[in-house]
């Protein structure tokens, strides 16, 4: 059972290191987003916590639009095959990545 002890050690150490590394990444991301934020953001945009109503509305509209799109997509797929998954993971990764990217751009960059 030496191996079992080893494996328990690996688990404790491994999960500890994973959490440690992830927390350092968290810190890094906070620093990075702070230091590399766009300088010319308007004052009302620099206060993200108090999301203004317009933004919220826009967000809900986007959410609704996306929900409809997803519903339509699933409807279209359901006839074709039992799993409501796209043909290939790679293709779907791309599709969702792009869709996400477009949404993110809308949400982040082009908000009026």
């Amino acid at each position: 059972m030496n191996n079992l002890l080893l494996s328990l050690q690996i688990t404790a150490l491994g999960m500890g290191l994973v959490f440690g590394a992830i927390i350092l990444l968290w810190l890094m991301m906070i620093l990075l987003t702070t230091f590399t934020a766009d300088k010319q953001t308007q004052p009302e945009e620099s206060a993200p916590p108090q999301a203004d109503p317009v933004t919220q509305t826009g967000f809900k509209a986007q959410a609704a639009a996306l929900a409809v799109a997803i519903a339509l997509a699933e409807q279209g797929q359901s006839a074709a095959h039992p799993l409501p998954e796209p043909p290939t993971a790679i293709v779907s990764a791309w599709q969702l990545g792009m869709r996400t990217s477009q949404r993110a751009q809308k949400g982040n960059f082009r908000r009026p």
């Binding site: 994973v18 959490f19 590394a21 590399t36 766009d38 993200p48 967000f59 095959h81 990764a93 969702l96």
Partner: protein, 377 residues
Amino acid sequence: MDLSSLLPELLKGFTHFTIGNAVMITAALVLIYLAVFKEIEPVLLMPIGFGCLLANIPLAGMTAVEGMMGVLYNAGIKTELFPLLIFVGVGAMIDFSPLLAQPRMVLLGAAGQFGIFGTLILAVLLGFPLNQAASIGVIGAIDGPTSIFVATKLAPELLAPIAVAAYSYMSLIPIIQPPLMKLLTTKKERLIKMDYAPKPISKTTLIFFPIVLTIVVGLLVPEATPLISMLMLGNLLKMSGVVDRLSKAAENEIINIATLFLGLAIGSTMNEAAFLNFDTGKIMALGLFAFVLDTVAGLLFGKLMCFISGGKINPLIGAAGISAFPMAGRLAAKTASDEDPDNFILMHAMGANTAGQLGSVIAGGILLSVVSKMLGL
């Protein structure tokens, strides 16, 4: 040449055909069936299945060192080139802005790796030596190239069953996760709506992120550098916006060719001796266990974050932290909107999902580092 010596020559294909070959060809047909008719990760399971078929046609010589499959294996699996090239393409398809907009989501990417270590312990209990147990555990990274990369280093003899388990269960996520989600969360929790008022993420941030991440992870976990750096290279090519030619090549030619060759080469290791033993069955069972454990750990951590945040975090996004990009993220969002069509948590789930992708690679590197050290490799 007399005819008595001719008949064995004519029938050599059949006389050398073993029960084992028949079983493995059946396995190949099952993989191809799942790929074609169930559309389970077809870009990988179809080449793997076809490679397995070729490895079990006697005397065809394709898996010999100088055969085509042997050439591909030595060129791209032994050198680890194919999984790394696939990661360049995957990196060019990932958008980290949902994660950067809500950095705390990154914590969920750590919780979703518990399955790796839990499965390692169970594999050791089932009698696997440590290097094999660790390779089996890394199925819990829920990320194909990471699993293949680590298994190639620690236990190449188990590469085929590990790859098959990783990719098969990856596509079964829409079947594996939802029951666990319902079991481990209350309806009230699933109904939690989350504000999405993200910090605006500048283009500069998106460009710096892959570079800084490569350096930070590289210094923290040198063993994870090949995987994380190729993922980040792809992401940088894409986000920089100045090398369209290269990012298109990464997303298309490079990933497609590497995927086809990787699948064939891995499938061609599925010969009787390597695959037809009790271990393969154990590995498939352990793989499923890894997927379940990852999901459970992710959901429980999600509930913890929900509790700490005073009920502001929907624990479903914890299930997206296991990696399996982007299926797991989408599935978490879908489960929430199934409960309440007005509940939209896709951006949060995608943040957790990309965090899971990073966490998987880091956990893979840590596992490689710790186990190599312990085994004195």
